[in-house]
């Protein structure tokens, strides 16, 4: 379509105006409102005991959730990619469920399961307080971040296939050695990407966490709860802006990391990609051309058809 210049400019303007009104101006406004009273005021506002405690709590939750998600996420991805068992698709569907559930519904569900009157309410009698305690917030965060690591690692596992692992086995590597020296390095960027997404969501989760937190300032407030309570309960608008700005900076940092990682993800070792691109083409003894466009191990779809299956269909078509 060759669009006349005026039309193009009109379309461009429409798009940019929409983005400006919806995204840019509000963000500029909050920055302005945050820093209008001076940087000192902002600094003070995020250095109050309640703010520091909220920051620490958010970090604590991240520190617990990330390792848990890494371990279970990688294991789940391996099971989903390598396993052949009935119900695999069902399991895969369950991994996606958290994406489809409203954060508030997550909160309510957890209350129904872990709350005093819930299925596991008995835990309260033995002194383990899940809902309105740290465990509840951790579990809520795990729920909403569960798919990230799995979904980022899965395609990489698919892509690398099993040959490298088999090769390692024939060379004497145990299963653990194979995992540590072959599988893990291969999935590391996908895993890192998943972790970044997990961290971002864990820091930013609000709906699910507010439902299961007692919300006491300085005790059980995360950064997002702090923003909310400052605005609603304390009518401390500037404080809320300041905390939100802090979270926004964290989000921008995440975005930046994601952009950087996105370039690394396609499996190549960071140095090698660049080296491959810049290395002068040496005279090759073989007629084939060396190149970075490795004829990657046949993709999951194309080559996963096992020989016997192929032969079986041949047979049955007789």
């Amino acid at each position: 379509m060759r669009i006349a210049r005026p039309t193009r400019i009109v379309l461009r303007t429409l798009a940019l105006v929409y983005l400006t009104v919806l995204l840019a101006v509000p963000i500029v406004t909050i920055l302005w409102r945050t820093f209008e009273p001076g940087f000192g005021a902002f600094w003070e506002s995020i250095r109050t005991p309640a703010a520091i405690s909220a920051f620490n709590l958010s970090l604590l939750i991240v520190a617990i959730v990330v390792p848990v998600n890494v371990v279970f996420g990688v294991v789940t991805a391996i099971v989903l990619v390598r396993g052949r068992f009935p119900g695999r698709r069902l399991l895969s569907g369950i991994v996606d469920l958290p994406f489809a559930v409203s954060p508030i519904v997550v909160g309510v569900s957890l209350i129904m399961l872990w709350g005093v009157n819930g299925w596991f309410g008995g835990l309260d009698n033995v002194g383990i307080r899940v809902i309105f305690g740290l465990p509840g917030m951790v579990i809520a965060t795990i729920f909403v971040t569960l798919p990230f690591v799995v979904r980022e690692v899965e395609p990489v596992l698919h892509e690398i296939g099993i040959e490298q692992e088999q090769a390692a086995a024939t060379l004497g590597a145990s299963r653990w050695q194979t995992f540590a020296r072959i599988t893990l390095p291969a999935i590391r960027w996908g895993l890192t990407y998943g972790v970044v997404l997990t961290v971002a969501r864990a820091l930013g989760e609000f709906g699910a966490v507010i439902m299961v937190s007692s919300g006491f300032p300085g005790v059980s407030q995360t950064l997002t709860l702090l923003v909310h309570s400052r605005y609603i309960d304390d009518h401390n608008t500037h404080g809320a802006y300041a905390a939100a700005t802090l979270l926004m900076f964290l989000a921008l940092l995440t975005l930046l990391l994601m952009t950087v990682l996105d370039r690394k993800r396609p499996g190549q070792p960071s140095g090698a990609t660049i080296a491959a691109a810049t290395a002068p083409a040496e005279a090759d003894t073989d007629a084939e051309v060396a190149g970075a466009d490795d004829p990657a191990p046949p993709g999951p779809v194309a080559s996963a058809v096992p020989e016997p299956e192929l032969a079986t269909t041949t047979r049955s078509s007789r």
């Binding site: 669009i3 798009a15 919806l22 129904m112 729920f143």
Partner: protein
């Protein structure tokens, strides 16, 4: 002799088809032991399935009639209606504006395009409560531009449009990049005007991506809480959305009501996602038939 040998049994001059990799089913690939599988299943059940099961059971705590009464209570119904209505409007806005933005980002050139492109992801990265505050700072009380949208449905829409912005843009963009421009030129050469070319040639190609993006935006908007909690105002029968209603019911200790409306909300988003999947599958089928 070699010349003869080259000819296989069935007269094939070249080497036979490459033997496919024997990826064993029972062998290596299937070597995920029962214990690992068990642990994963247990984990997913504990984190995801059991809570949802507990929720569903709780929603029927007062029997089917109790469930029905909870969902059809006027305020609950109003909240659900507001949610669906506002989400639908936002989805439509996204479909139109999102496609426009995607088009501009792919087909247009202007200084700062890459910055704008990066900006699109911001709503995904921003915590929802921050989105709420960000919008309030401009459209809230004491608005610097004199537009106060808080506690109105307009406010809800702005908040939801903010958090769902990337869905359509990001699903249409890659498809638009891949679109075969020759087809457009062919249409133009046949005398089709821009609008006709867009409607008859480009739009059908983009439709699956647009629908999918719009559907995902709708599903997200249905369950949204953080971004509307401050700007929405939570006025029953007016701006209260389902998630706020649920939260309120928990606060006033009506767990059955909260659970029942939660289940209703879950059903709506599952149905949306199932319809999307169905549309995607149908589209793929049609594409395969065409190929």
């Amino acid at each position: 002799m070699t010349a003869v040998v080259g000819q296989g049994a069935a007269g094939s001059p070249a080497a036979p088809a490459r033997t496919p990799q024997p990826r064993s089913r029972a062998g290596w690939a299937g070597r995920v032991n029962g214990l690992t599988l068990g642990v994963v299943t247990l984990w997913l059940s504990l984190i995801v399935l059991l809570p949802l099961a507990a929720l569903t059971v709780a929603s029927f705590g007062d029997g089917w009639s109790g469930f029905w009464a909870a969902v059809t209570a006027p305020v609950a119904l109003a909240a659900l209606w507001t949610t669906v209505l506002v989400s639908a409007v936002v989805a439509v806005v996204n479909v139109v504006v999102g496609t426009l933005i995607a088009w501009v980002l792919v087909r247009d050139e202007f200084p700062g395009k890459r910055f704008v492109d990066a900006l699109i992801d911001l709503p995904f990265a921003l915590p929802t409560i921050v989105a709420s505050i960000v919008l309030l700072s401009l459209y809230g009380p004491n608005s610097p531009i004199g537009v106060e949208l808080n506690a109105t449905r307009w406010g809800l829409m702005v908040a939801l449009a903010f958090v769902t912005l990337p869905f359509v843009v990001r699903s249409v963009q890659p498809v638009l990049i891949e679109v075969d421009r020759d087809v457009e030129q062919a249409a133009a050469s046949l005398g089709a005007g821009n609008w006709t070319t867009f409607r008859r040639v480009v739009l059908p190609t983009l439709a699956p991506a647009i629908i999918s993006g719009g559907g995902l935006a709708f599903a997200r908007a249905i369950g949204e809480y953080g971004s509307v909690v401050l700007i929405g105002g939570n006025i029953p029968r007016e701006t209260q959305v389902a998630s706020q209603y649920i939260q309120q019911q928990i606060e006033i200790d009506r767990p059955v009501n909260a659970a029942a409306v939660s289940v209703a909300l879950l059903v709506i988003s599952f149905v949306t996602l199932l319809v999307l999947r169905w549309i995607a599958a149908r589209g793929q089928e049609r594409e395969e038939r065409a190929a």
